[in-house]
């Protein structure tokens, strides 16, 4: 299928992006540059959230917020620009844990979030206030207001997600990924999905970024049942994950480490699949509409171009 951006006015569509961290944040930024802000909702994985040093930390929400606020650190992919480390250095000197790097500016987010949650507000309301503080007009929503911690089972036991991901640098094989049961979507997520014309799945890790969102009731069934076009973007380019453990996890699961295997993994959840032209040819037999593009997002121009390609493709699917 080829794209024809002129034939479709994607400004008229309500778009929901399911996003993890860096890949989700980048596509969210591309979409935010071209869609009216009221048309875009980013539903973010909170399976990575944890309590640390007394504070509530939501790594994926922060990565998306910092990117959309233009204060993110491009080099690390996490945290803020012009960051300093005075507090965490002193905390480490005093015997506190320092395996999770908390910069002085970043800490402010966690302090305000912890404060507002302590006042009894929902994570959705807290995130809205933080977004106001960062002048972000787009709606960024946690997948749920309930804590929904992902845990990773390896040969030597079960770890909270961040201990596996950051402390152990995702090296222990993730034999099994556990999501808590009975997690419910927030009213804001339900409402966004009910109004959605296009649902996009960001080039995030399918197993630990997207699956936790789909585990939240009834997000998956709404996406399956409602008359929306669903398009996923491959996190695998040329047999490698752009960032993080996706490729390693696919290999450990016995899956081929290919874009096509990601499309297969999503199965009939998706109506279309966008992948990198580097992988063109490997998806020929794929039983879902698919589009090869330049999907590397090195800078904002790349992010905008990918967002345009994906929107045009999804819009055509919605019209077909």
């Amino acid at each position: 299928m080829s794209t024809n951006q002129e034939s479709v006015n994607s400004d008229q569509y309500n778009v929901v992006l399911l996003a993890g961290g860096v890949g989700g944040a980048k596509l969210a930024d591309g979409l935010a540059q071209i869609l009216p802000s009221e048309r875009l909702t980013v539903v973010v994985n909170t399976g990575d959230d944890f309590q640390h040093l007394g504070l509530k930390i939501c790594p994926d929400l922060d990565t998306v917020m910092y990117m959309l606020a233009g204060v993110n650190n491009d080099e690390t992919g996490w945290g803020r620009q012009n960051e300093s480390w005075r507090t965490i250095s002193e905390a480490s000197r005093l015997g506190g844990p320092d395996w999770f790097k908390l910069g002085d500016l970043d800490l402010a987010t966690h302090l305000v979030r912890s404060h507002l949650l302590g006042e009894g507000r929902t994570l959705t309301a807290v995130t809205r206030q933080l977004c106001r503080g960062f002048d972000i007009p787009v709606s960024i929503l946690p997948m749920s207001d309930q804590p929904a911690p992902t845990t990773i089972e390896s040969g030597d036991g079960i770890r909270p997600f961040q201990e596996w991901f950051v402390k152990e640098r995702w090296q222990p094989a993730a034999d099994k990924i556990h999501f808590p049961e009975d997690i419910k979507a927030s009213p804001a997520v339900m409402s966004a999905l009910q109004k959605a014309d296009l649902v996009l799945i960001a080039p995030s890790n399918p197993f630990v970024s997207i699956d936790p969102i789909l585990n939240v009731y009834p997000i998956k069934s709404m996406i399956m049942d409602l008359p929306m076009a669903v398009v996923a973007v491959s996190p695998i380019i040329g047999g490698q994950a752009v960032k993080g453990p996706a490729a390693k996890m696919m290999a450990e699961k016995g899956m081929p480490v290919t874009a096509a295997a990601v499309a297969d993994y999503f199965g009939d959840l998706i109506d279309g699949f966008v992948y990198d032209q580097e992988d063109a040819g490997t998806l020929e037999g794929l039983d879902v509409a698919h589009l090869a593009v330049d999907s590397w997002m090195r800078d904002q121009a790349d992010r905008v171009r990918l967002a345009k390609d994906v929107l045009a493709f999804a819009s055509e699917l919605a019209n077909s």
Copy 2:
């Protein structure tokens, strides 16, 4: 009574100092300079403690720790030297409360404390670890491992202590001061008092720094019943509090704002009273042993001199 430092070897006494914030920290520092560290225990008011921005903050413990570590800010009386304010400024910009000033270095203490408490350790154990981090050899003990929040009742309602003290700058009249019931001393405090030869009451606010400690069971009865010499140092000099609301609170209670009134307030709890020579003459009828000294503590030399005077006086009382 006159002091004779040469006649008494106060190094042989186990000394417990009951302390609030600045005045307590200063006398603790003077004592720490002249006593073997294993002879000095500082029992600190934790009635001021509160949860703020998700963190557990113990203002009096921190003031004493920072002073004994030599990292305190002499000008403010609270917080650390060479402090910076990057995190709290950003938190304020994001809509967080900024009425309680939390510097970047100071925050490290609260993060580590909150982290260790979250692991289930007692405040006593946590304080011990922080003291190790600050290379403080003296034993600094919270008065209890239980939270024991002081609340202040004014005409317009009851406030948590810090909201009255910092947010309202102690301006509403403290009609009534409330301490929680059934607060028990930690084993470490009990043990220190059992071994104590001298108990010193720092020149701290009697109503909101010392009374909260005496409210912890069985601190007051141990001090009354055990064969130790108990000496208080006046927080009132020349009819004024050196710092804070003590004088204002005495006036509101209908007490004369004098050193003598403080001695009367402690009544038969104390065996001796140390006050400033500026107030000499006003204590002539006082029915307790008393000693006029230069009690202003402008610098460490002053703190050491006062500590020597108080120790010598208390030692004589213990021997008599």
